[in-house]
Symmetry: C2
Subunit: 200 residues, 2 copies
């Protein structure tokens, strides 16, 4: 399955199902290889013999993707058609949305982890690309297996080498600062994050 | 000129020149009207009888846009063709890039101010839209005229009402926190901004 997923480009074959993926799975190959040098539990795109790592697919509404996101924050309710429309709108923004998911092959292909890299096109920095890591979540039944680490390391390598980002940033709560520091993320001197929220 | 700019949609007429704009200038109308209620120096899309506010145009490489950005940070060197390619790639990311510029009508239409709103499509928050204010710059010869305030207020209103953002954020240096607080931006409790930069 590993080879098939990686070698097919825009629509990968996973079992008997044709998947419409958010981005070309083949692009992940270099990040997988680098990660596997440090952690041999990653073989191809399978971690620990059980977890398949791949781009989000248009059909993942039916594999618990939105329910997983609900462990992170409020998602509201929407239909699979709404999901597919948003997926398609993201995909039309070329080289922008990279959502990586973990599928549990032992549990009816449920999605049990996900992280997003969003790439912003700039006019500064030699027409640079600025990356942001967003919406990191691992199902609470699956924590303690280094799956969050796997997602962050893979997407950070991917941002640097595949997307050629000049910087990658993220926002996190106080208790997660140490977690992200191990991957090279840190506070920047005199830099502030400010925000405002709007009521609907 | 104000009426002509606002009423033409995707390609506005500015003087005798057809402009290829990054987004529909007409979408700004509501934000202009709200701003003008508090500051009557804004009439239509002209501020203080001299400054035209409009979306970035594909031809703005020739009106000092990149030189203006150099007052903010390093831009490197690239050609007008490279600029137009990046502009076109941004425009193809529908409902994503909103770059607002200020043109000095008394100075050969030089661009003397700019701010960017980038909208990220989400699966969380009822398929929400998350906004970010980026790359705020006013030419140093033009400071002290409230032009930065104008750009931030317009784009914040635009993000809330036109783009339906559930939140808008930005990053800034310590000395600018007070400036942004006047528009409703503030620190969030226990929230950290972390970053890593990559060498080329």
């Amino acid at each position: 399955m590993t080879e098939r997923l990686i070698h097919d480009h825009s629509s990968s074959i996973n079992g008997n199902q044709k998947l419409n993926l958010l981005f070309d799975a083949h692009l992940l190959q270099s990040a997988f290889k680098q990660y596997a040098l440090k952690d041999p539990k990653l073989q191809g795109n399978i971690y620990n013999g059980r977890y398949l790592i791949r781009p989000l697919a248009a059909s993942d509404y039916d594999h618990g993707y939105v329910d997983l996101l609900r462990q992170l924050t409020e998602c509201g309710k929407y239909s699979s058609e709404d999901f597919e429309k948003r997926f398609s709108d993201m995909k039309q923004c070329v080289n922008t949305y990279y959502i990586l998911i973990i599928e549990d092959l032992d549990s009816d292909k449920q999605i049990i982890g996900s992280t997003t890299l969003v790439c912003e096109k700039k006019f500064i920095r030699q027409l640079g690309i600025r990356g942001r890591i967003e919406d990191v979540v691992v199902d609470h039944h699956y924590r303690g297996q280094q799956l969050g680490k796997l997602l962050i390391e893979l997407l950070t390598k991917f941002a640097k080498e595949q997307c050629d980002c000049y910087k990658v940033s993220l926002e996190c709560k106080d208790n997660l600062v140490g977690f992200y520091q191990q991957f090279g993320y840190d506070h920047e001197d005199k830099q502030n994050y400010l925000c405002q929220r709007f009521q609907k």
